[in-house]
Point group: D2
Chain length 288, copies 4
């Protein structure tokens, strides 16, 4: 993103208390940081405060560690969690795929052209099919087959790779496997899935056949954080495309692909730019 080449991001959340905005903005001013974009929202029902600031240090040098250390006690007064993100930050990520390549192809294109500030550590698949796509992009590809018997082992291997590579983000780009509850827990808030339908409609098997039988006029996709409630995690982004009676189930699938790619890419972009906040199973997304 062009506008992020010289701007840092401070993202924070805490309970709703008088002074939440001021504690952030006053500190930024004291640190001689110029705020270029600011969004805050107080969730009246959840009694939770969210803030995101893009800022540009006005002085030649900016000491990231000092900034964090100085802000820590102030944030503590508000029981505030925060994250500081550098302009050049590229978030380490592992991508899980199966056989379908449309989302992976789209992500790798955006990665290669710098549209998504990702540092892709590995691509993992339970099938060998997408290895050549990965290798064209010079990315390591791990073929980790999965059977009912080996599922626990395979997940352990996946977690190993995530841990060893230090990946902060896990992207399920049409992975087609249900993650175990333990894995969901370990990846809470940092694994993004794309679901091939508008949630919560048409869950379960053959969603596009269900949609066809209802004669739907719109197909959609939902990008969400995974959680234990299968296909029901907190929503980050959604998209739709019009369809009509000439679309048989296989055509709905094809129509769905474009909107899946776009919706997943948008959700990842929001995550990387620290526009997404998660609290109690709901998201706040300062989109644009």
């Amino acid at each position: 993103m062009s506008r992020m080449t010289d701007t840092w991001i401070l993202a924070a959340q805490c309970p709703s208390i008088l002074g939440t905005v001021d504690v952030v903005t006053r500190f930024l001013k004291e640190q001689h940081c110029y705020i270029t974009e600011l969004s805050s929202f107080d969730d009246r029902l959840g009694e939770r405060f969210f803030i995101r600031a893009e800022f540009r240090p006005e002085r030649e040098t900016f000491d990231e560690q000092a900034f964090q250390e100085n802000f820590l006690p102030r944030a503590a007064d508000f029981d505030m969690t925060f994250e500081l993100t550098a302009p050049a930050k590229r978030t380490g990520a592992v991508i899980l795929v199966s056989k379908a390549d449309h989302c992976l192809n789209d992500l790798l294109y955006r990665y290669r052209t710098g549209q998504l500030a990702l540092d892709i550590k590995a691509i993992i698949s339970n099938h060998p099919d997408l290895e050549s796509l990965a290798s064209w992009h010079d990315l390591p590809y791990h073929h980790l087959p999965i059977t009912p018997d080996t599922k626990a082992d395979q997940e352990a291997q996946v977690l190993d790779i995530i841990e060893q590579t230090g990946a902060e983000l896990v992207i399920l780009a049409r992975y087609m496997q249900v993650l175990s509850p333990r894995m969901c827990e370990l990846l809470d808030g940092r694994a993004i899935n794309i679901h091939h339908s508008l949630l919560p409609g048409f869950k379960g098997a053959k969603p596009y056949h269900q949609a066809y039988d209802k004669g739907v006029k719109l197909v959609g996709a939902t990008a969400h954080y995974i959680n234990n409630d299968l296909d029901e995690g907190p929503i980050i982004a959604q998209g739709v495309e019009p369809v009509d009676h000439t679309h048989y189930p296989e055509d709905l699938v094809a129509k769905g692909r474009d909107i899946e790619c776009l919706t997943l890419a948008r959700a990842i972009g929001y995550h990387l730019e620290r526009r997404v906040f998660l609290h109690n199973g709901r998201t706040v997304v300062f989109g644009n």
Copy 2:
């Protein structure tokens, strides 16, 4: 509709057999009718054929009754049902409402300005609130209250009005009442409902609260024929609007209103122009 002032519509459906298109188009040519717009579709899975032709008689006089009588035996050969609609046709309709007036206001505006070729016979409500709106448009308003005890009686009264006025179409413009199975059956294929959400998601009570809890980024509306499967009838039209975290449930409701109005009006327009075909619980809509 400007383009319909001199064009008739022939709409038909039948099982998939060789010659289905030809039996219609050959007859129209013999009758010296010029086809201005034609759409046909053969549903491979349902093995059902649908056709809609707009045509302009080339001769000074056009004998509607003779046309129908002459076409009847040919249609019979294909087990084809058909409907001929005159250019000036205004479809008789009864509108059912409750207290919410946004859809009614929108429909009456389109009725008054000739955008919808309706002949509104009556407006029926279980509440008195919308009487003045009806009377400003010089339309009869029937206040028929409903309680669990009087539901059967009230439905009988509603059916009486539909029958006595000869209404062909029943519009449920946010009626908020569940129709009895018998009523659904009697109105099969000629009662259009607008559902305040994207089906099949968020059924039941407080759909917008459910949507809020999931953090949805899109709200929608679905216009469909009613059937015994509550809120699950064949879909005619759907629409969506983007929302974000700043939309509390009551804001989602407000956002939903615009898309409900537009989606219901579009569905009614398609029905009036005989663009909608119903077969085995699915619709074919030759939209534009």
Copy 3:
């Protein structure tokens, strides 16, 4: 708007200087005001800062005048202009129309149901056609015909009504008249027009015929502040609808009506909620 029943709005803009956010947020905290929603943006190219805060006073009493007087010197330090808007504020408005009633009907519906916090002072038209619509809503209607000879006089009468009623906002709801440069200047930043096309395409006469000749697949509408550059004022909101070859120019006009209504209503809502900032011919819109 549900969320505004207890929240005030402070909207401000000034040149880009370090501390712009802090001067606002610190003051709000000192005044014991809890910020429920905050957006700020610094236009890098225009070197201009914009901020909008929704806040809720935490103390029983809130002295509007004292708030303004106390903030004035601080704002002055930043050459900042600001506006404070009370929760119950309904903005006085005059609506200009011609013969087409779709936008007026839509606005009056939203006005009557409280969706738009307007205090409609008068409806002015160069034609008598829409008087009954106004009178059903108990609103004064001024029929001020216009001819080339009387244009100056008529505009003077319009300005008189605006002045005498104290209207802060002027809405051109398909007024179809070109305002004189002087009138544009007097209404700078407070007159919203709806243009029957996506600007800057298809300006001038018969835009829908031009669109038809190009075979466009989308029609749109643009709501903008008027200025001397006819139909080229700063854009507040835009919308589109898909069309196809079956839409003759008169059908494009009909399709355009819905999107004109929605786009104008959205722009007015943004204006009333002080989400729109104007500077050097560009808008910043903190939409939702």
Copy 4:
């Protein structure tokens, strides 16, 4: 397209005369061809008739040449031009690019996965940058640099490749070069361009800067056949994406890329499925 694996397409156009539909549908029946999808439209203003039929031969064998020869005299009676397209038909195409790779990457993905029934003969560019992308897909890449002095020669080389490969379609996937009038004429009706804006707005240089200066809230893309009127050819497909004030010109460019890819791919799909008809500078598109 799944639904095309066993269906042929007959597309035709002629002046508006009684019997235009019948001459097509009667012939198809005589040839024992079952029509699965039919669309016809009569342009009242242009007095021109367009028809597209998808059909499935009912007999084991289907003699393409005999079909054409038999239909020819009947079509001649109506001054009708027509084209018969086989189910397995893959249209030979040459793709012209410059340095930007987003549209090419998208097209090659769809080509490789069979979403677009293309037979890509060559990729031609005035720059060497995209050679590796072409070679990964095993496609010939011709680097033909262009300068004001060599433009005529370069175009001759491009035309040579088109001719020698027998390419029927030329795709300008962000080629960034103005074709000479002669080249436009030679490629009339078979060269598709993607324009980085909604036409006719923001023509000429730096369209996204123009859009930024107007404060647009939507960016779009237009796919059209090229003609001598630069960037003003007959429109095949258009798309839009919402933007706001945080989008600087370079962000508008980035936002535009996605919609350019999708719009170009949709237009090519329509062209390949013979859904697009061209007459007197206007298109009729039987989309879905």
